[in-house]
């Protein structure tokens, strides 16, 4: 595999995981993305844009997969490993639980909001790049980011206040 693409496998895998909410499907999507990228490598004019290019291919591969699934629906549910909703408090630290619940809140967002929030926060993409990756308008990307973030704040406000209280009590 080309070194240029190899370094972005984790980025592709994580985005695929967010899109699919399933480790096995994320594995398959990642493999397909890297294979498609290798075949279409001639289209990548500027290596500096490789990460955004690969993320765009990831979104395309997942959209293709969704279209295939709509034509041939599978009996089993798609999501099998969304972050566990209630980890035992004594088994994980406060911080770990906070992270797990945040990822769960992200995974519970509608697909477009989830992708936009993930790409903006975790991949640090600008709205213009996100619009390009997801093949949507800038306005749609901006609206999805705002709506997704607002939903996450509403869902996590109590939890973060509670954890902040716990953290302060232990400090």
């Amino acid at each position: 595999m080309g070194h240029l693409f190899e370094q972005y496998v984790p980025h592709v895998y994580r985005f695929a995981k967010r899109l699919t909410a399933n480790s096995d499907v994320a594995d398959d999507v990642t493999q397909e993305v890297m294979l498609r990228a290798w075949r279409q490598r001639g289209q990548l004019r500027e290596p500096a844009t490789a990460r955004v290019w690969l993320l765009r291919i990831t979104a395309n591969v997942w959209n293709d997969e969704l279209r295939r699934r709509r034509r041939r629906p599978r009996p089993s549910p798609l999501s099998d490993d969304v972050v566990s909703p209630a980890p035992a408090p004594l088994q994980v630290s406060v911080r770990q639980e906070q992270i797990a619940r945040t990822m769960q809140a992200l995974d519970e967002l509608p697909e477009r909001q989830r992708s936009v929030v993930y790409l903006h926060v975790c991949e640090q993409l600008e709205l213009k790049q996100i619009a390009e990756v997801l093949a949507i308008s800038y306005t749609a990307a901006k609206a999805s980011l705002s709506a997704g973030r607002q939903q996450m704040r509403n869902k996590l406000r109590d939890l973060f206040q509670e954890f902040d209280g716990v953290t302060r009590k232990h400090e």
Binding site: Q98, L127, R149, L156
Partner: protein
């Protein structure tokens, strides 16, 4: 969040405000405890998201399988390239051999040149002065030129100073598909 400026909170967080809007929002932020709390909460959420994403490690078999798939694709591509190169070479060799046979080989379809003795005699009797009478001149020898078919050659007449001599340049016609090369 009922003041108009609170609606700019997410644009501010996404760095989507211009300098003037940003300045106005930061003034608002100085007095709005709701926005201050929302920004603090959002930054905590973003930190958790970053940490959560970083915890997701690509399973080693995935990386290994990607390498294998690309290796297979690379080998297939090389094989396809080698086969197409070989096919091109064979095609060029066949075409060259066929052209050689057609134009230069034993069975080449070249124009045939026949010395027409009767015509020579007829012309010679009407021609004065006779070429053999002029020292240093070879006698004029009319010839008959035959072509394999009407489309195989083009004959172009060249100006001659001698009225008893006609000069033609004969060009073969190569036909390749719908194109003709003269």
């Amino acid at each position: 969040m009922n003041q108009p400026d609170c609606t700019l909170l997410d644009d501010y967080l996404a760095s989507e405000l211009d300098a003037e809007e940003r300045g106005e929002f930061e003034q608002h932020l100085g007095v709005c405890r709701t926005c201050q709390a929302a920004i603090e909460l959002q930054r905590s959420i973003d930190r958790s998201l970053l940490a959560g994403a970083a915890l997701e490690i690509v399973p080693p078999p995935v990386t290994q399988r990607i390498g294998e798939h690309i290796g297979t694709a690379r080998r297939r591509q090389r094989l396809a390239f080698a086969m197409s190169s070989a096919a091109t070479l064979v095609l060029v060799a066949c075409a060259s051999w066929s052209l050689y046979r057609h134009w230069l080989g034993d069975g080449a379809l070249r124009p045939t040149v026949v010395h027409d003795k009767d015509h020579v005699a007829a012309v010679a009797s009407q021609t004065a002065p006779r070429d053999e009478d002029v020292p240093g001149h070879e006698p004029v020898k009319p010839v008959r030129v035959g072509f394999p078919d009407s489309n195989s050659h083009i004959a172009a007449e060249v100006k001659s100073d001698d009225p008893t001599v006609s000069i033609f340049m004969i060009y073969p016609v190569f036909t390749t598909g719908s194109h003709e090369i003269h």
